[in-house]
Amino acid sequence: MTPVRGISDRVFLVCLAILGGSYLVLIVAMLAANIAYTSPNFLLEALRSREVRFAIWLSLASSTMTAILSLWVGVPLGYLMSRFRFPGKRLCDALLDIPIVLPPLVIGLCLLILFQTPLGRSIERFFPVTYAIPSVVLAQFAVSAAFAVRTMRVTFDEITPRLEQVAMTLGCSRSQAFWTVTLPEARRGVVTAATLSWARAMGEFGPVLVFAGATRLRTEVLPTTVFLELSIGNLYGAVAVSLLMVLAAMLVLLIVRVFCLGHT
């Protein structure tokens, strides 16, 4: 790191710290207020509830599944959008922004309508989706995957295509060059895309509520629990579940960063 010298360097850094730090203060203040509002008893009580335990399990499982599916489409789409020019690329680019731009509630509504079409109904006949666990994953995936695609595209944009070109002159096919050179270089981007889509899925509420419903022990995820507790006026319960969400998310993100990126 370049050493900080002189008053102007210090003033500049202090200004940056004040501007950026105000956001950190807001986050810490919100968490502290929540912690102060509740007590360990409320947390334990929430954990003792069968419905909350189911919601925790479903939230973690569906978010993990969503992260895997998001990478499944994010890596190839990000690579194609970054490396190739093809007819309709701008249209694809605009389409990929729709899940980011649209209100999540509308995404849920769109999914609900999709599964009312003849195609959706024929899928439902063999594989029930709406108001079942697959609908939770699909609702989360519809929004989260767009973030994975964007992250992977930026990642591949930053990796020079020259590496693949040299690999191809060394005897690799295009796919071998991708697997042996490009993807290992994109490792950090892959981890970021996975954590981003996982975190986004964990907090997704609107599309899950519309497309999967809020049936306890069936399609209830943690944001749904917070909503249900609030709707019956149980503010303490809602805060306790919110804190459980924060703890679960922080734990998973920390584990991923330490084990996949090698730093905290």
Binding site: T160, Q165, A167, T169, L170, G171, S173, T180, R187
Partner: protein
């Protein structure tokens, strides 16, 4: 032998028309020209990384114009070297051999031989991030030569080196290309490099390649 026969290249507004040149087997040819005249593009065309609109590329009596880069049998060292950041020096030297499914023993033997030839045996477990310019150049050269390609293409290999390292690498290039017998096309804008290394000297100017082997002072 490297032979370009009436090559036509169009990339956006940039064009090269009817470019022809011939380098005999085992020769060290240097292609000179001003920055931006298309020297690097010509190397990429020979590698198969850029398309040609017309003409033929012949390597060792074989028309490779329609072949994929992997099938052309070329060792290529780009100007930026493009070392793979996540691979060690040993893995760089083994890369082309692993792609060709050489046995572990053969790879180990060849890596040892290359490392000795390029004086990089002490660097085998290092990664590109910690290498100096001269060391990186040696690794890129070793990676390109590992599978014993008959043709070696070098894009401004000495441009980013200090004088002392440049002289070392010039000696190394002379020694390595003579020992391996590889047919080499080296692109540069430096006359002194050309004088020290070239058996054949070409000049690319306004889209035309001229053989100026007998009169390098005109370049």
């Amino acid at each position: 032998m490297i032979a370009l026969d009436q090559i036509h290249v169009r990339l956006g507004s940039f064009t090269l028309n009817n470019v022809s040149l011939q380098v005999e087997t085992g020769q060290y040819a240097v292609l000179m020209g001003k920055t931006g005249c298309g020297k690097s593009t010509l190397l990429e065309v020979i590698c198969g990384l850029k398309p040609i609109q017309a003409g033929r590329i012949i390597l060792l009596e074989r028309d490779v114009s329609a072949l994929r880069p992997a099938e052309r049998g070329i060792g290529y060292v780009p100007q930026d070297l493009a070392l793979f950041p996540s691979l060690s020096v040993r893995e760089h030297l083994a890369f082309a051999l692993e792609v060709r499914r050489w046995s572990t023993a053969q790879i180990r033997e060849r890596v040892k031989e290359l490392a000795a030839l390029l004086s990089i045996s002490h660097l085998l477990d290092r990664f590109p991030r910690g290498l100096s310019g001269g060391e990186s150049q040696r690794v890129a050269l070793g990676r390109a030569l590992a599978a014993r390609p008959p043709v070696l293409l070098l894009d401004e290999p000495l441009s980013a080196l200090d004088d002392e390292t440049r002289n070392e690498i010039i000696d190394l290039l002379r020694r390595v290309t003579r020992q391996t017998g590889v047919t080499t096309l080296h692109v540069t804008h430096s006359r002194s490099e050309a004088r020290q290394l070239a058996d054949r000297l070409f000049l690319l100017e306004q889209g035309i390649v001229r053989d100026i082997t007998q009169r390098p002072e005109e370049s």
